[in-house]
Protein backbone atom coordinates (compact mmCIF):
# COMPACT_ATOMS: atom_id res chain seq x y z
CA UNK A 1 0.00 0.00 0.00
CA UNK A 2 2.82 2.36 0.82
CA UNK A 3 4.35 1.95 -2.60
CA UNK A 4 1.14 3.01 -4.23
CA UNK A 5 1.01 6.08 -2.06
CA UNK A 6 4.58 6.94 -2.76
CA UNK A 7 4.06 6.64 -6.47
CA UNK A 8 1.13 9.03 -6.43
CA UNK A 9 3.22 11.41 -4.40
CA UNK A 10 6.01 11.11 -6.94
CA UNK A 11 3.69 12.09 -9.74
CA UNK A 12 2.88 15.35 -8.01
CA UNK A 13 4.74 18.43 -9.26
CA UNK A 14 7.77 18.90 -7.06
CA UNK A 15 9.26 22.03 -8.57
CA UNK A 16 8.40 24.27 -5.64
CA UNK A 17 10.63 22.30 -3.32
CA UNK A 18 13.68 22.87 -5.49
CA UNK A 19 15.25 25.91 -3.76
CA UNK A 20 15.68 23.84 -0.64
CA UNK A 21 17.91 21.25 -2.25
CA UNK A 22 21.11 22.22 -0.43
CA UNK A 23 19.36 22.10 2.94
CA UNK A 24 18.08 18.72 2.03
CA UNK A 25 21.54 17.34 1.36
CA UNK A 26 22.72 18.47 4.79
CA UNK A 27 19.59 17.13 6.44
CA UNK A 28 20.05 13.78 4.76
CA UNK A 29 23.61 13.38 5.97
CA UNK A 30 22.52 14.43 9.43
CA UNK A 31 19.54 12.10 9.55
CA UNK A 32 21.55 9.17 8.32
CA UNK A 33 24.23 9.81 10.90
CA UNK A 34 21.86 9.83 13.87
CA UNK A 35 20.03 6.80 12.56
CA UNK A 36 23.29 4.89 12.21
CA UNK A 37 24.41 5.98 15.68
CA UNK A 38 21.26 4.67 17.32
CA UNK A 39 21.45 1.43 15.35
CA UNK A 40 25.02 1.02 16.57
CA UNK A 41 23.95 1.73 20.15
CA UNK A 42 21.35 -1.00 19.83
CA UNK A 43 23.54 -3.59 18.16
CA UNK A 44 26.79 -2.99 20.02
CA UNK A 45 25.86 -4.41 23.45
CA UNK A 46 24.29 -7.45 21.81
CA UNK A 47 27.20 -8.04 19.46
CA UNK A 48 29.55 -7.65 22.41
CA UNK A 49 27.57 -10.28 24.28
CA UNK A 50 27.89 -12.70 21.34
CA UNK A 51 31.63 -12.11 21.01
CA UNK A 52 32.21 -12.34 24.77
CA UNK A 53 30.36 -15.64 24.90
CA UNK A 54 33.17 -17.30 22.95
CA UNK A 55 36.06 -15.61 24.79
CA UNK A 56 37.74 -17.03 27.86
CA UNK A 57 37.47 -15.29 31.23
CA UNK A 58 40.92 -13.82 31.00
CA UNK A 59 40.23 -12.25 27.63
CA UNK A 60 36.96 -10.82 28.89
CA UNK A 61 38.57 -9.28 31.96
CA UNK A 62 41.67 -7.82 30.34
CA UNK A 63 40.39 -6.71 26.96
CA UNK A 64 36.63 -6.03 26.77
CA UNK A 65 36.83 -4.82 23.16
CA UNK A 66 39.24 -7.50 21.97
CA UNK A 67 38.39 -10.44 19.77
CA UNK A 68 38.89 -14.00 21.06
CA UNK A 69 42.03 -15.90 20.17
CA UNK A 70 39.92 -18.98 19.64
CA UNK A 71 36.17 -19.60 19.50
CA UNK A 72 35.42 -21.23 22.83
CA UNK A 73 32.06 -22.80 22.35
CA UNK A 74 32.70 -24.86 25.46
CA UNK A 75 31.36 -21.79 27.31
CA UNK A 76 28.03 -22.49 25.68
CA UNK A 77 28.20 -26.13 26.65
CA UNK A 78 28.97 -25.16 30.24
CA UNK A 79 26.11 -22.68 30.37
CA UNK A 80 23.75 -25.15 28.73
CA UNK A 81 24.61 -28.06 31.03
CA UNK A 82 26.20 -26.82 34.26
CA UNK A 83 24.14 -23.64 34.60
CA UNK A 84 21.18 -25.68 33.29
CA UNK A 85 20.14 -23.04 30.79
CA UNK A 86 19.03 -25.89 28.54
CA UNK A 87 16.69 -27.21 31.19
CA UNK A 88 15.32 -23.73 31.93
CA UNK A 89 14.64 -23.15 28.24
CA UNK A 90 12.65 -26.35 28.18
CA UNK A 91 10.80 -25.43 31.39
CA UNK A 92 9.84 -22.06 29.94
CA UNK A 93 8.66 -23.77 26.80
CA UNK A 94 6.46 -26.16 28.77
CA UNK A 95 4.97 -23.40 30.92
CA UNK A 96 4.34 -20.99 28.06
CA UNK A 97 2.88 -23.67 25.80
CA UNK A 98 0.40 -24.49 28.53
CA UNK A 99 -0.41 -20.93 29.50
CA UNK A 100 -0.67 -19.65 25.94
CA UNK A 101 -3.05 -22.44 24.94
CA UNK A 102 -5.18 -21.77 27.99
CA UNK A 103 -5.11 -18.00 27.45
CA UNK A 104 -6.19 -18.25 23.84
CA UNK A 105 -8.88 -20.83 24.52
CA UNK A 106 -10.47 -18.99 27.44
CA UNK A 107 -9.81 -15.53 26.03
CA UNK A 108 -11.33 -16.30 22.63
CA UNK A 109 -14.40 -17.99 24.07
CA UNK A 110 -15.11 -15.22 26.57
CA UNK A 111 -14.48 -12.52 23.96
CA UNK A 112 -16.77 -14.26 21.50
CA UNK A 113 -19.62 -14.35 23.99
CA UNK A 114 -19.11 -10.69 24.90
CA UNK A 115 -19.00 -9.67 21.26
CA UNK A 116 -21.79 -11.77 19.85
CA UNK A 117 -24.43 -12.56 22.45
CA UNK A 118 -26.54 -10.33 24.58
CA UNK A 119 -27.57 -11.45 28.04
CA UNK A 120 -28.16 -9.88 31.40
CA UNK A 121 -25.00 -8.63 33.13
CA UNK A 122 -22.91 -8.66 29.97
CA UNK A 123 -21.66 -5.10 30.33
CA UNK A 124 -20.78 -5.62 33.98
CA UNK A 125 -18.85 -8.82 33.34
CA UNK A 126 -17.05 -7.31 30.38
CA UNK A 127 -15.84 -4.32 32.37
CA UNK A 128 -14.88 -6.61 35.22
CA UNK A 129 -12.57 -8.45 32.84
CA UNK A 130 -11.19 -5.46 31.03
CA UNK A 131 -10.76 -3.45 34.24
CA UNK A 132 -7.95 -5.83 35.18
CA UNK A 133 -5.73 -4.01 32.69
CA UNK A 134 -5.72 -0.96 34.92
CA UNK A 135 -4.29 -2.69 37.99
CA UNK A 136 -0.55 -2.98 38.61
CA UNK A 137 0.38 -6.59 39.29
CA UNK A 138 2.29 -5.43 42.38
CA UNK A 139 -1.01 -4.78 44.10
CA UNK A 140 -1.99 -8.45 43.78
CA UNK A 141 1.40 -9.91 44.60
CA UNK A 142 1.04 -10.65 48.32
CA UNK A 143 -2.48 -12.12 48.24
CA UNK A 144 -1.68 -14.02 45.03
CA UNK A 145 1.19 -15.71 46.82
CA UNK A 146 -1.25 -17.02 49.42
CA UNK A 147 -4.01 -17.89 46.96
CA UNK A 148 -1.57 -20.03 44.99
CA UNK A 149 -0.08 -21.57 48.12
CA UNK A 150 -3.45 -22.40 49.63
CA UNK A 151 -4.52 -24.01 46.38
CA UNK A 152 -1.49 -26.30 46.69
CA UNK A 153 -0.04 -24.84 43.49
CA UNK A 154 2.98 -23.08 44.95
CA UNK A 155 6.18 -24.05 43.12
CA UNK A 156 4.30 -25.94 40.40
CA UNK A 157 4.08 -25.38 36.67
CA UNK A 158 0.32 -25.80 36.85
CA UNK A 159 0.21 -22.83 39.21
CA UNK A 160 2.30 -20.69 36.88
CA UNK A 161 0.26 -21.71 33.85
CA UNK A 162 -3.02 -20.80 35.53
CA UNK A 163 -1.68 -17.50 36.85
CA UNK A 164 -0.09 -16.46 33.53
CA UNK A 165 -3.34 -17.21 31.74
CA UNK A 166 -5.43 -15.37 34.33
CA UNK A 167 -3.30 -12.22 34.05
CA UNK A 168 -3.30 -12.33 30.25
CA UNK A 169 -7.09 -12.57 30.06
CA UNK A 170 -8.01 -8.87 30.45
CA UNK A 171 -6.07 -7.72 27.44
CA UNK A 172 -6.88 -10.83 25.40
CA UNK A 173 -10.61 -10.46 26.05
CA UNK A 174 -10.48 -6.74 25.32
CA UNK A 175 -8.62 -7.16 22.05
CA UNK A 176 -10.58 -10.15 20.78
CA UNK A 177 -13.98 -8.74 21.72
CA UNK A 178 -13.21 -5.74 19.55
CA UNK A 179 -12.04 -8.10 16.82
CA UNK A 180 -15.07 -10.39 16.89
CA UNK A 181 -17.31 -7.32 16.69
CA UNK A 182 -15.74 -6.34 13.37
CA UNK A 183 -16.62 -9.67 11.76
CA UNK A 184 -19.72 -9.56 9.55
CA UNK A 185 -22.92 -10.85 11.18
CA UNK A 186 -24.34 -12.08 7.89
CA UNK A 187 -22.02 -15.08 7.77
CA UNK A 188 -22.99 -16.12 11.28
CA UNK A 189 -26.70 -15.78 10.48
CA UNK A 190 -26.34 -17.82 7.31
CA UNK A 191 -24.53 -20.56 9.19
CA UNK A 192 -27.26 -20.72 11.84
CA UNK A 193 -29.89 -20.83 9.08
CA UNK A 194 -28.10 -23.76 7.55
CA UNK A 195 -28.53 -25.63 10.80
CA UNK A 196 -25.13 -25.00 12.30
CA UNK A 197 -25.31 -25.05 16.12
CA UNK A 198 -23.93 -22.31 18.30
CA UNK A 199 -20.83 -24.35 19.14
CA UNK A 200 -20.26 -25.35 15.54
CA UNK A 201 -20.64 -21.74 14.52
CA UNK A 202 -17.85 -20.72 16.88
CA UNK A 203 -15.35 -23.44 16.03
CA UNK A 204 -16.05 -23.84 12.34
CA UNK A 205 -16.93 -20.34 11.24
CA UNK A 206 -15.98 -17.60 13.70
CA UNK A 207 -12.58 -18.84 14.91
CA UNK A 208 -11.19 -19.29 11.38
CA UNK A 209 -12.48 -15.86 10.46
CA UNK A 210 -10.80 -14.32 13.49
CA UNK A 211 -7.40 -15.77 12.64
CA UNK A 212 -5.51 -12.49 12.08
CA UNK A 213 -6.68 -11.13 15.42
CA UNK A 214 -5.91 -14.40 17.18
CA UNK A 215 -2.38 -14.42 15.78
CA UNK A 216 -1.70 -10.83 16.85
CA UNK A 217 -2.86 -11.38 20.38
CA UNK A 218 -1.09 -14.75 20.57
CA UNK A 219 2.22 -13.13 19.64
CA UNK A 220 1.66 -10.45 22.23
CA UNK A 221 0.81 -12.98 24.92
CA UNK A 222 3.64 -15.31 23.98
CA UNK A 223 6.23 -12.58 24.46
CA UNK A 224 4.75 -11.30 27.73
CA UNK A 225 4.52 -14.79 29.17
CA UNK A 226 7.90 -15.92 27.87
CA UNK A 227 9.56 -12.84 29.39
CA UNK A 228 7.65 -12.99 32.66
CA UNK A 229 9.93 -12.70 35.66
CA UNK A 230 8.09 -11.21 38.63
CA UNK A 231 5.41 -13.90 38.85
CA UNK A 232 7.76 -16.91 38.75
CA UNK A 233 10.08 -15.15 41.18
CA UNK A 234 7.24 -15.02 43.69
CA UNK A 235 5.38 -18.23 42.87
CA UNK A 236 8.23 -20.55 41.87
CA UNK A 237 10.70 -20.11 44.71
CA UNK A 238 12.65 -23.09 46.00
CA UNK A 239 12.95 -26.06 43.67
CA UNK A 240 15.55 -24.92 41.12
CA UNK A 241 14.83 -27.71 38.69
CA UNK A 242 11.45 -26.17 37.86
CA UNK A 243 12.58 -22.61 37.29
CA UNK A 244 11.83 -20.77 34.08
CA UNK A 245 14.51 -19.25 31.85
CA UNK A 246 14.45 -15.72 33.30
CA UNK A 247 14.97 -17.09 36.80
CA UNK A 248 17.78 -19.33 35.62
CA UNK A 249 19.56 -16.40 33.99
CA UNK A 250 19.19 -14.22 37.09
CA UNK A 251 20.63 -17.07 39.20
CA UNK A 252 23.45 -17.53 36.72
CA UNK A 253 24.32 -13.84 37.08
CA UNK A 254 24.35 -14.15 40.87
CA UNK A 255 26.65 -17.20 40.71
CA UNK A 256 28.90 -15.44 38.24
CA UNK A 257 29.31 -12.70 40.82
CA UNK A 258 30.85 -15.25 43.20
CA UNK A 259 32.67 -17.52 40.79
CA UNK A 260 33.84 -14.85 38.35
CA UNK A 261 32.86 -17.03 35.40
CA UNK A 262 32.00 -14.23 33.00
CA UNK A 263 32.15 -16.30 29.85
CA UNK A 264 29.50 -18.65 31.18
CA UNK A 265 27.15 -15.76 31.88
CA UNK A 266 27.63 -14.31 28.40
CA UNK A 267 27.14 -17.76 26.89
CA UNK A 268 23.95 -18.23 28.93
CA UNK A 269 22.59 -14.88 27.80
CA UNK A 270 23.49 -15.67 24.19
CA UNK A 271 21.70 -19.00 24.34
CA UNK A 272 18.64 -17.19 25.67
CA UNK A 273 18.78 -14.50 22.99
CA UNK A 274 19.46 -16.71 19.94
CA UNK A 275 16.08 -18.41 19.59
CA UNK A 276 14.32 -15.08 20.10
CA UNK A 277 16.54 -13.52 17.46
CA UNK A 278 15.81 -16.25 14.93
CA UNK A 279 12.06 -16.13 15.49
CA UNK A 280 12.15 -12.34 15.36
CA UNK A 281 14.12 -12.27 12.12
CA UNK A 282 11.62 -14.59 10.46
CA UNK A 283 8.39 -13.09 11.76
CA UNK A 284 9.55 -9.49 12.11
CA UNK A 285 6.54 -7.84 10.46
CA UNK A 286 4.02 -10.00 12.26
CA UNK A 287 5.65 -9.43 15.64
CA UNK A 288 5.93 -5.69 15.19
CA UNK A 289 2.34 -5.29 14.12
CA UNK A 290 1.18 -7.72 16.80
CA UNK A 291 2.90 -5.80 19.55
CA UNK A 292 2.02 -2.33 18.34
CA UNK A 293 -1.59 -3.38 17.85
CA UNK A 294 -1.39 -4.50 21.45
CA UNK A 295 -0.39 -1.05 22.53
CA UNK A 296 -2.97 0.76 20.47
CA UNK A 297 -5.92 -0.72 22.22
Amino acid sequence: MTTVQQRTAADAPATTARPLRRDRGVANVFSHTVLVVWAALTILPLAWMFVSSVKDNNEILTDPWGLPAALRFDNWVRAFNEAQIGRYLLNSLVVVTGSLTLTMLLGASAAYVFARYSFRGRQLLYYLFVGGMMFPVFLALVPLFFVVRNAGLFGTWTGLILVYAAYSLPFTVFFLTAFFRTLPTSVAEAALMDGCGHFGLFFRVMLPMARPGLISVAIFNFLTQWNQFLLPQVLMQGDESKWVLAQGLAALAVNQGYAGDYSQLFAGLTIAVLPVLVVYAIFQRRIQSGLTAGQLK
Binding site: A9, A10, T16, F138, F229
Partner: protein, 302 residues
Protein backbone atom coordinates in the same frame (compact mmCIF):
# COMPACT_ATOMS: atom_id res chain seq x y z
CA UNK B 1 -30.28 -16.71 17.13
CA UNK B 2 -32.39 -16.92 20.27
CA UNK B 3 -32.79 -20.54 21.20
CA UNK B 4 -29.93 -22.64 22.41
CA UNK B 5 -27.51 -19.83 23.13
CA UNK B 6 -27.38 -20.22 26.89
CA UNK B 7 -25.48 -23.54 26.96
CA UNK B 8 -22.79 -21.84 24.90
CA UNK B 9 -22.72 -18.67 26.99
CA UNK B 10 -22.33 -20.69 30.16
CA UNK B 11 -19.67 -23.10 28.89
CA UNK B 12 -17.72 -20.27 27.34
CA UNK B 13 -17.93 -17.78 30.15
CA UNK B 14 -17.74 -19.77 33.38
CA UNK B 15 -14.18 -21.20 33.05
CA UNK B 16 -12.51 -17.87 32.22
CA UNK B 17 -14.57 -16.13 34.91
CA UNK B 18 -13.52 -18.69 37.50
CA UNK B 19 -9.85 -18.44 36.62
CA UNK B 20 -9.97 -14.67 36.53
CA UNK B 21 -11.94 -14.41 39.75
CA UNK B 22 -9.65 -16.72 41.72
CA UNK B 23 -6.25 -15.48 40.55
CA UNK B 24 -6.87 -11.84 39.63
CA UNK B 25 -10.00 -10.33 41.17
CA UNK B 26 -9.79 -11.94 44.58
CA UNK B 27 -6.09 -11.08 45.11
CA UNK B 28 -6.75 -7.47 44.12
CA UNK B 29 -9.64 -7.27 46.57
CA UNK B 30 -7.67 -8.99 49.33
CA UNK B 31 -4.75 -6.61 48.86
CA UNK B 32 -6.85 -3.70 50.11
CA UNK B 33 -7.96 -5.73 53.10
CA UNK B 34 -4.44 -6.96 53.95
CA UNK B 35 -3.16 -3.39 53.79
CA UNK B 36 -5.29 -2.60 56.83
CA UNK B 37 -3.65 -5.30 58.92
CA UNK B 38 -0.40 -6.09 60.64
CA UNK B 39 0.50 -9.52 59.30
CA UNK B 40 3.77 -11.41 59.10
CA UNK B 41 2.24 -14.48 57.52
CA UNK B 42 3.01 -16.95 60.31
CA UNK B 43 -0.44 -17.10 61.84
CA UNK B 44 -3.65 -17.28 59.85
CA UNK B 45 -5.03 -14.30 61.75
CA UNK B 46 -3.90 -10.82 60.90
CA UNK B 47 -4.30 -8.03 63.40
CA UNK B 48 -6.53 -5.24 62.14
CA UNK B 49 -4.73 -1.90 62.40
CA UNK B 50 -6.89 0.35 60.19
CA UNK B 51 -4.89 2.92 58.32
CA UNK B 52 -1.84 2.54 60.55
CA UNK B 53 0.27 1.09 57.70
CA UNK B 54 -0.44 4.13 55.54
CA UNK B 55 0.46 6.47 58.39
CA UNK B 56 3.71 4.59 58.74
CA UNK B 57 4.35 4.91 55.00
CA UNK B 58 4.15 8.69 55.33
CA UNK B 59 7.06 8.65 57.77
CA UNK B 60 9.16 6.02 55.99
CA UNK B 61 12.21 7.69 54.50
CA UNK B 62 13.03 4.62 52.36
CA UNK B 63 9.62 4.70 50.76
CA UNK B 64 9.90 8.41 50.00
CA UNK B 65 13.36 7.85 48.60
CA UNK B 66 12.04 5.13 46.30
CA UNK B 67 9.07 7.24 45.27
CA UNK B 68 11.38 10.14 44.50
CA UNK B 69 13.26 7.92 42.05
CA UNK B 70 10.01 6.79 40.46
CA UNK B 71 9.04 10.44 40.15
CA UNK B 72 12.30 11.20 38.34
CA UNK B 73 11.70 8.25 36.01
CA UNK B 74 8.18 9.48 35.43
CA UNK B 75 9.40 12.97 34.57
CA UNK B 76 12.22 11.91 32.26
CA UNK B 77 11.65 8.48 30.69
CA UNK B 78 8.39 9.18 28.82
CA UNK B 79 9.56 12.56 27.50
CA UNK B 80 12.95 11.34 26.31
CA UNK B 81 11.62 8.07 24.89
CA UNK B 82 8.75 9.73 23.04
CA UNK B 83 11.05 12.50 21.83
CA UNK B 84 13.60 10.08 20.44
CA UNK B 85 10.86 7.82 19.10
CA UNK B 86 9.20 10.67 17.21
CA UNK B 87 12.53 11.91 15.94
CA UNK B 88 13.67 8.56 14.58
CA UNK B 89 10.22 7.71 13.22
CA UNK B 90 10.15 11.03 11.38
CA UNK B 91 13.63 10.40 9.98
CA UNK B 92 12.67 6.93 8.84
CA UNK B 93 9.32 7.78 7.37
CA UNK B 94 9.80 11.28 6.04
CA UNK B 95 13.52 11.97 6.16
CA UNK B 96 14.16 10.95 2.57
CA UNK B 97 14.63 13.20 -0.38
CA UNK B 98 11.32 14.77 -1.00
CA UNK B 99 12.09 16.54 -4.27
CA UNK B 100 11.43 13.35 -6.15
CA UNK B 101 8.91 11.49 -4.14
CA UNK B 102 6.96 13.89 -1.97
CA UNK B 103 7.43 12.66 1.55
CA UNK B 104 9.41 9.45 1.64
CA UNK B 105 11.45 7.44 4.06
CA UNK B 106 15.23 7.22 4.01
CA UNK B 107 16.89 4.27 2.38
CA UNK B 108 17.12 1.16 4.54
CA UNK B 109 14.06 2.05 6.62
CA UNK B 110 13.08 -1.56 7.14
CA UNK B 111 16.56 -2.52 8.31
CA UNK B 112 16.60 0.29 10.86
CA UNK B 113 13.18 -0.73 12.05
CA UNK B 114 14.31 -4.35 12.38
CA UNK B 115 17.29 -3.31 14.51
CA UNK B 116 15.60 -0.66 16.65
CA UNK B 117 12.69 -2.86 17.60
CA UNK B 118 14.72 -5.86 18.67
CA UNK B 119 15.25 -4.95 22.38
CA UNK B 120 11.48 -4.98 22.73
CA UNK B 121 11.27 -8.74 22.20
CA UNK B 122 14.03 -9.47 24.70
CA UNK B 123 13.25 -10.33 28.28
CA UNK B 124 13.91 -7.40 30.61
CA UNK B 125 16.04 -9.74 32.71
CA UNK B 126 18.37 -10.31 29.75
CA UNK B 127 18.56 -6.58 29.08
CA UNK B 128 19.33 -5.87 32.74
CA UNK B 129 22.04 -8.52 33.01
CA UNK B 130 23.64 -7.52 29.73
CA UNK B 131 23.80 -3.83 30.64
CA UNK B 132 25.09 -4.65 34.07
CA UNK B 133 28.11 -6.13 32.28
CA UNK B 134 28.30 -3.20 29.85
CA UNK B 135 28.62 -0.89 32.87
CA UNK B 136 31.12 -3.17 34.61
CA UNK B 137 33.88 -0.90 36.00
CA UNK B 138 36.82 -3.04 34.76
CA UNK B 139 35.71 -5.40 32.04
CA UNK B 140 32.70 -3.49 30.74
CA UNK B 141 32.13 -2.35 27.18
CA UNK B 142 31.69 1.26 28.26
CA UNK B 143 34.79 1.66 30.39
CA UNK B 144 36.76 -0.36 27.86
CA UNK B 145 36.00 2.34 25.32
CA UNK B 146 36.62 5.20 27.74
CA UNK B 147 39.99 3.90 28.86
CA UNK B 148 41.02 3.26 25.26
CA UNK B 149 40.67 6.98 24.50
CA UNK B 150 42.24 7.96 27.82
CA UNK B 151 39.11 9.16 29.62
CA UNK B 152 38.41 8.47 33.32
CA UNK B 153 36.48 5.27 34.01
CA UNK B 154 33.67 5.78 36.55
CA UNK B 155 32.21 2.97 38.64
CA UNK B 156 28.75 3.55 37.04
CA UNK B 157 26.45 1.14 38.88
CA UNK B 158 28.82 1.12 41.85
CA UNK B 159 28.59 4.86 42.38
CA UNK B 160 25.50 6.24 44.19
CA UNK B 161 25.71 9.39 42.06
CA UNK B 162 25.46 7.56 38.74
CA UNK B 163 23.77 4.19 39.42
CA UNK B 164 20.21 5.46 39.08
CA UNK B 165 20.92 7.35 35.87
CA UNK B 166 22.53 4.27 34.35
CA UNK B 167 19.34 2.33 34.98
CA UNK B 168 17.26 5.17 33.55
CA UNK B 169 19.37 5.17 30.38
CA UNK B 170 18.78 1.43 29.90
CA UNK B 171 15.07 1.97 30.32
CA UNK B 172 15.09 4.51 27.51
CA UNK B 173 17.37 2.33 25.38
CA UNK B 174 15.09 -0.68 25.61
CA UNK B 175 11.90 1.26 24.85
CA UNK B 176 12.78 3.68 22.06
CA UNK B 177 12.63 1.12 19.24
CA UNK B 178 9.12 0.09 20.05
CA UNK B 179 7.87 3.66 19.83
CA UNK B 180 9.76 4.25 16.59
CA UNK B 181 7.68 1.47 15.07
CA UNK B 182 4.48 2.60 16.77
CA UNK B 183 4.82 6.23 15.66
CA UNK B 184 6.02 5.10 12.26
CA UNK B 185 2.82 3.14 11.74
CA UNK B 186 0.79 6.17 12.80
CA UNK B 187 2.74 8.40 10.42
CA UNK B 188 2.11 6.02 7.55
CA UNK B 189 -1.59 6.34 8.25
CA UNK B 190 -1.53 10.08 7.62
CA UNK B 191 -2.81 10.65 4.08
CA UNK B 192 -0.07 11.65 1.65
CA UNK B 193 -2.10 14.41 0.05
CA UNK B 194 -1.94 16.41 3.28
CA UNK B 195 1.83 16.48 2.89
CA UNK B 196 1.63 17.26 -0.80
CA UNK B 197 -0.51 20.27 -0.02
CA UNK B 198 1.90 21.47 2.64
CA UNK B 199 4.88 20.96 0.39
CA UNK B 200 3.27 22.92 -2.38
CA UNK B 201 2.87 25.74 0.09
CA UNK B 202 6.62 25.59 0.59
CA UNK B 203 6.62 24.54 4.24
CA UNK B 204 9.94 23.41 5.69
CA UNK B 205 10.60 19.98 7.09
CA UNK B 206 10.49 21.23 10.67
CA UNK B 207 7.23 23.15 10.18
CA UNK B 208 5.64 20.11 8.59
CA UNK B 209 6.66 17.99 11.54
CA UNK B 210 5.54 20.49 14.16
CA UNK B 211 2.35 21.67 12.56
CA UNK B 212 1.09 18.59 10.75
CA UNK B 213 2.65 15.34 11.89
CA UNK B 214 2.80 15.78 15.65
CA UNK B 215 -0.73 17.17 16.04
CA UNK B 216 -2.07 14.28 13.95
CA UNK B 217 -0.15 11.83 16.11
CA UNK B 218 -1.58 13.15 19.34
CA UNK B 219 -3.66 10.10 20.21
CA UNK B 220 -0.75 7.77 19.66
CA UNK B 221 1.58 9.93 21.74
CA UNK B 222 -0.98 9.98 24.51
CA UNK B 223 -1.18 6.19 24.58
CA UNK B 224 2.61 6.02 24.52
CA UNK B 225 2.83 8.38 27.44
CA UNK B 226 0.43 6.31 29.54
CA UNK B 227 2.40 3.14 28.90
CA UNK B 228 5.77 4.72 29.58
CA UNK B 229 4.44 6.38 32.71
CA UNK B 230 3.22 3.04 34.01
CA UNK B 231 6.60 1.52 33.15
CA UNK B 232 8.31 4.37 35.02
CA UNK B 233 6.25 3.60 38.12
CA UNK B 234 7.47 0.01 37.88
CA UNK B 235 11.12 -0.38 36.75
CA UNK B 236 11.34 -3.26 39.21
CA UNK B 237 13.22 -5.86 37.16
CA UNK B 238 15.84 -3.46 35.81
CA UNK B 239 16.60 -2.06 39.25
CA UNK B 240 16.52 -5.39 41.05
CA UNK B 241 18.81 -7.08 38.55
CA UNK B 242 21.19 -4.20 37.88
CA UNK B 243 21.70 -2.56 41.28
CA UNK B 244 19.37 -4.18 43.85
CA UNK B 245 18.33 -0.59 44.53
CA UNK B 246 21.81 0.41 45.64
CA UNK B 247 24.41 1.55 46.26
CA UNK B 248 22.93 2.74 49.53
CA UNK B 249 19.35 2.84 48.14
CA UNK B 250 20.37 5.46 45.56
CA UNK B 251 18.53 3.65 42.75
CA UNK B 252 15.67 2.17 44.75
CA UNK B 253 12.12 2.15 43.35
CA UNK B 254 8.79 1.50 45.02
CA UNK B 255 8.26 -1.88 43.34
CA UNK B 256 11.52 -3.19 44.73
CA UNK B 257 10.78 -1.70 48.15
CA UNK B 258 7.49 -3.54 48.14
CA UNK B 259 8.98 -6.80 46.93
CA UNK B 260 11.71 -6.73 49.57
CA UNK B 261 9.22 -5.82 52.29
CA UNK B 262 7.00 -8.78 51.42
CA UNK B 263 9.46 -11.43 50.29
CA UNK B 264 12.76 -10.25 51.78
CA UNK B 265 14.23 -10.99 55.20
CA UNK B 266 11.07 -9.94 56.99
CA UNK B 267 7.72 -10.82 55.54
CA UNK B 268 5.75 -7.69 56.37
CA UNK B 269 2.75 -8.54 54.23
CA UNK B 270 0.49 -5.84 55.64
CA UNK B 271 3.01 -3.08 55.09
CA UNK B 272 3.90 -4.35 51.60
CA UNK B 273 0.23 -4.43 50.62
CA UNK B 274 -0.13 -0.83 51.72
CA UNK B 275 2.68 0.04 49.30
CA UNK B 276 0.84 -1.92 46.61
CA UNK B 277 -2.28 0.14 47.27
CA UNK B 278 -0.28 3.36 46.99
CA UNK B 279 1.22 2.16 43.73
CA UNK B 280 -2.25 1.34 42.45
CA UNK B 281 -3.54 4.83 43.15
CA UNK B 282 -0.46 6.37 41.58
CA UNK B 283 -0.93 4.30 38.42
CA UNK B 284 -4.60 5.20 38.30
CA UNK B 285 -3.92 8.93 38.69
CA UNK B 286 -1.26 8.90 36.00
CA UNK B 287 -3.68 7.29 33.55
CA UNK B 288 -6.49 9.67 34.47
CA UNK B 289 -4.27 12.74 34.16
CA UNK B 290 -3.09 11.61 30.72
CA UNK B 291 -6.61 10.95 29.50
CA UNK B 292 -7.86 14.30 30.86
CA UNK B 293 -5.09 16.30 29.25
CA UNK B 294 -5.32 14.45 25.99
CA UNK B 295 -9.08 14.51 25.72
CA UNK B 296 -10.44 15.98 22.54
CA UNK B 297 -12.23 14.91 19.44
CA UNK B 298 -10.90 12.10 17.38
CA UNK B 299 -9.59 12.83 13.94
CA UNK B 300 -10.79 10.50 11.23
CA UNK B 301 -9.29 10.51 7.78
CA UNK B 302 -12.02 10.04 5.26
Amino acid sequence: MKQGKYPLIITFLVPPLLLYGVFVLSPYAQAFQISTTEWLGYSPDAEFVGLEQFRRLLHDGYVWNALKNNAILLAIVPVVTIGLGLFFAAMLNMGGRRGRAGVAGVRGTSVYRLVYFFPQVLSVVIIALLWKEVYHPNSGLLNGALSAVGLPTPAWLGDPRTAFWCVLAVMVWSNVGFYVVLFGAAMQAIPRDIYEAVLLDGASRWTTMRRITIPLLRDTVQVAWIYLAIAALDAFILVQQMTKGGPNFSSDVIGLRMYDTAFGAETKFGYASAMGVVLFFLTLSVAIVALRIGRRERIEYS
